[in-house]
């Protein structure tokens, strides 16, 4: 009989598993359930956890201020291990088992694209915090976002390089493993060429790489006036650092993926003479921004990155919409989200346009003397 032991173990584990899965969460009547799916573990855990912190702060604030529609917000967070199929699973669970009224997520467009059809089919509004691929909100009229879309940011970056920096010959170093990076690179190139500029060379790296000297040396040969790195700060700091080691002193330009205190922490003095476009500047005297930055510091003893800001804004925009809808029904929240005009977010005055994308000004940050400084604001047309 000894031999059948493992089988018992299996059976016990399966039964245990089913029991755990089937014990749903109890909710009371004076709570509104909001779901969040996020990459708390896996390759982009650092972005997912930042987002989660921002959302937690927003939930905490609103509950201290009395909640929404007289009820407390209860946030349910599911991890998706940075995988699209897990995101689909997490969202299905949040909607069908927990009965959330709205969903917040995700950083990555790939996860949002897997989850959006499920939200759409169930008529549950989803507000994506940082998925920049235009395709995401095309999945249906229940899908919204608070970040820029790639075409808009790409255009702004191109205009900034061409008009403000007055540079004509640039090179691009993109992350081929990353949809955000190739999207931004593509729209930058289109717009920059339209303006009359020239992209003299394009090189690629993959998320997780640490050595970029080969790409940089090759780019150096084509003698660009600036190099565009539309990736995340996790790699950008090392890229610029290695470029400076190779005596490449031209400006480097990035997008909102660069926005983190880690950029200057890791890059140090090498980051001088770089620029990036993002949603807000920590120097902005606007009380919404200052309140957020100080509170974030107090709570996490860390500076917020762009993901924390967007998580915070996504949650607050959603709560505002539920308030205006006066109801937690999916179609009412959707209509209220659609009607959002000039919502004062940390990342600027947000207006939701006809395509359910956020229209808001974009800020250019310049790094000099190891510090991030506000350079200029570009309004959407």
């Amino acid at each position: 009989m000894y031999k059948s032991k493992p089988a018992y173990i299996v059976l016990a584990l399966v039964i245990f598993g089913l029991l755990v899965i089937s014990c749903g969460r109890k909710t009371s009547d004076n709570e509104i359930l909001i779901g969040e799916y996020s990459s708390l573990t896996g390759t982009t855990a650092t972005f997912g956890q930042s987002t989660h912190r921002g959302i937690l702060m927003a939930v905490d604030e609103i509950n201290k201020a009395g909640g929404v529609l007289g009820k407390k917000i209860k946030l349910l967070t599911e991890d998706d291990q940075s995988k699209p199929e897990e995101a689909a699973m997490a969202v299905t669970k949040l909607i069908s088992r927990d009965g959330v009224k709205a969903i917040i997520g995700e950083v990555s467009s790939s996860r949002s694209l897997a989850a959006a059809p499920i939200c759409q089919a169930n008529r549950i509004p989803m507000v994506s915090n940082a998925s920049t691929n235009p395709e995401v909100t095309r999945k249906g009229d229940y899908i919204f976002r608070v970040c820029y879309i790639d075409p808009f940011q790409g255009e702004v970056m191109a205009k900034f390089v061409f008009n403000s920096l007055k540079l004509r010959r640039v090179a691009i170093l993109e992350d081929v493993k990353n949809d955000y990076s190739i999207g931004l690179a593509q729209y930058f190139e289109e717009n920059f060429k339209k303006l009359g500029g020239e992209v003299v060379a394009t090189q690629a790296y993959s998320e997780g790489d640490t050595d970029f000297k080969a790409q940089l040396t090759a780019l150096k040969g084509s003698d660009p006036e600036a190099i565009i790195v539309p990736g995340y700060y996790t790699e950008a700091a090392l890229i610029v650092k290695q470029a400076r080691d190779l005596n490449m002193n031209m400006p480097f330009i990035g997008g909102d993926g660069w926005d983190s205190a880690k950029l200057t922490e890791i890059g140090g003095a090498a980051m001088n003479n770089t620029y990036f476009s993002t949603a807000y500047s920590a120097d902005d005297p606007n009380p919404v921004v200052q309140n957020f930055v100080t509170k974030y510091h107090k709570l996490y003893s860390d500076s917020p990155d762009a993901f924390a800001v967007l998580g915070y804004d996504a949650a607050r925009l959603l709560f505002d919409a539920i308030n205006r809808a006066g109801s937690v029904e999916g179609d009412k929240i959707r209509d209220a989200l659609k009607a959002t005009r000039d919502f004062p977010g940390v990342s600027g005055m947000i207006t939701i346009d006809a395509d359910r994308n956020a229209r808001k000004p974009i800020v250019i940050i310049e790094i000099g003397d190891g510090k991030m400084k506000y350079k200029e604001t570009i309004q959407p047309d």
Partner: protein, 301 residues
């Protein structure tokens, strides 16, 4: 021409890092004949040991940057050695007589455990690795730059290789290692304590990972819990390419992978870099299935 020279330098400095990690891989493989997938993650732990110990060491010892750097490296080597031996004792030893695929699964499990555990304990965000040695350039012209960092890595890799060779060929434990590698059973009949030898090899291999991690992080000063995956994989490819179990092979394999990656990126296509370096690996294995240096059985650890 200058660009070509610069790319050669880039390739050698990248390759010597792969070689450094590959040395540890190949040591462990040589004796146990299984792929220790957790090696890259032991490497990651080594980097975090350096991250946490460097400020303490410079505070309490306050010696020259070079002495501090050596102390940090020693700390990383010791902790990684302990970790490696512990992993072997708990996860691999009970399965020693089992098919290799079984041990491979516990190695994958251990690798995931260290990665997810690392994200939990250290946090998933990238951290700045403290500058242990001031980096400067030896050659610094407009178009050609050689930094001290790459030189240190190359020298260390070379010194470690000679040291390992001495251990394997000039010491008693080295002779025991070769005997165990040749035949576990026969070695035990000769009075060699197999467990001691294997523990020793794990300590040695893992401490190499620790040393490599400190050097690696000094060159690429952004560390995170998943940083071991790709260097680990590349080092493993380097070890296979060179003829797994062979110390020179690991060094040569590392250099080849480093140079190939650099040249593919610089002159063919950076988007296809990984695909092309894998294709070259497959081609070489098809021409010479035991790897470049594989035929010298006597050279095996």
């Amino acid at each position: 021409m200058n660009e070509l020279l610069q790319q050669v330098i880039n390739g050698i400095s990248l390759g010597s890092i792969y070689a450094l990690i590959a040395l540890g891989y190949t040591m462990i493989y040589g004796i146990l004949r299984f792929i220790n997938f957790a090696h890259g993650d032991v490497f990651m732990v080594g980097a975090f040991v350096g991250y946490y110990f460097a400020p303490i060491i410079s505070k309490f010892f306050g010696g020259s940057p070079f002495a501090n750097g050596l102390l940090v490296m020693a700390a990383a080597m010791i902790i990684c050695a302990v970790l490696g031996v512990t992993i072997e004792k708990f996860a691999y030893k009970p399965l020693r007589s089992r098919p290799k695929l079984t041990v491979l699964i516990t190695a994958i499990g251990m690798s995931l455990f260290l990665e997810f555990g690392g994200q939990l304990v250290f946090g998933p965000d990238p951290k700045l690795f403290p500058a242990l040695m001031p980096s400067s350039a030896i050659v610094n012209t407009e178009n050609l730059v050689i930094s001290t960092n790459s030189l240190i890595v190359i020298i260390t890799a070379f010194v470690l290789m000679i040291l390992l060779r001495t251990i394997v060929y000039r010491t008693k434990i080295g002779a025991a290692m070769r005997a165990v590698s040749y035949n576990h059973y026969a070695a035990s009949l000769m009075g060699i304590n197999i467990n001691t030898v294997i523990s020793f090899v794990f300590a040695l291999g893992s401490s190499l990972a620790g040393a490599a991690a400190v050097l690696y992080s000094s060159v690429y000063p952004s560390i995170n819990p998943l940083m071991g995956i790709f260097p680990g994989l590349k080092a493993f490819i380097a070890a296979v390419l060179g003829g797994i179990g062979n110390l020179y092979g690991a060094a040569i394999g590392g250099l080849i992978i480093g140079l190939v990656e650099t040249f593919v990126t610089g002159y063919i296509s950076s988007t296809y870099r990984d695909a092309i370096s894998f294709s070259i690996l497959i081609l070489i294995l098809l021409i010479k299935p035991s790897g470049i240096m594989g035929k010298f059985e006597a050279e095996k650890v």
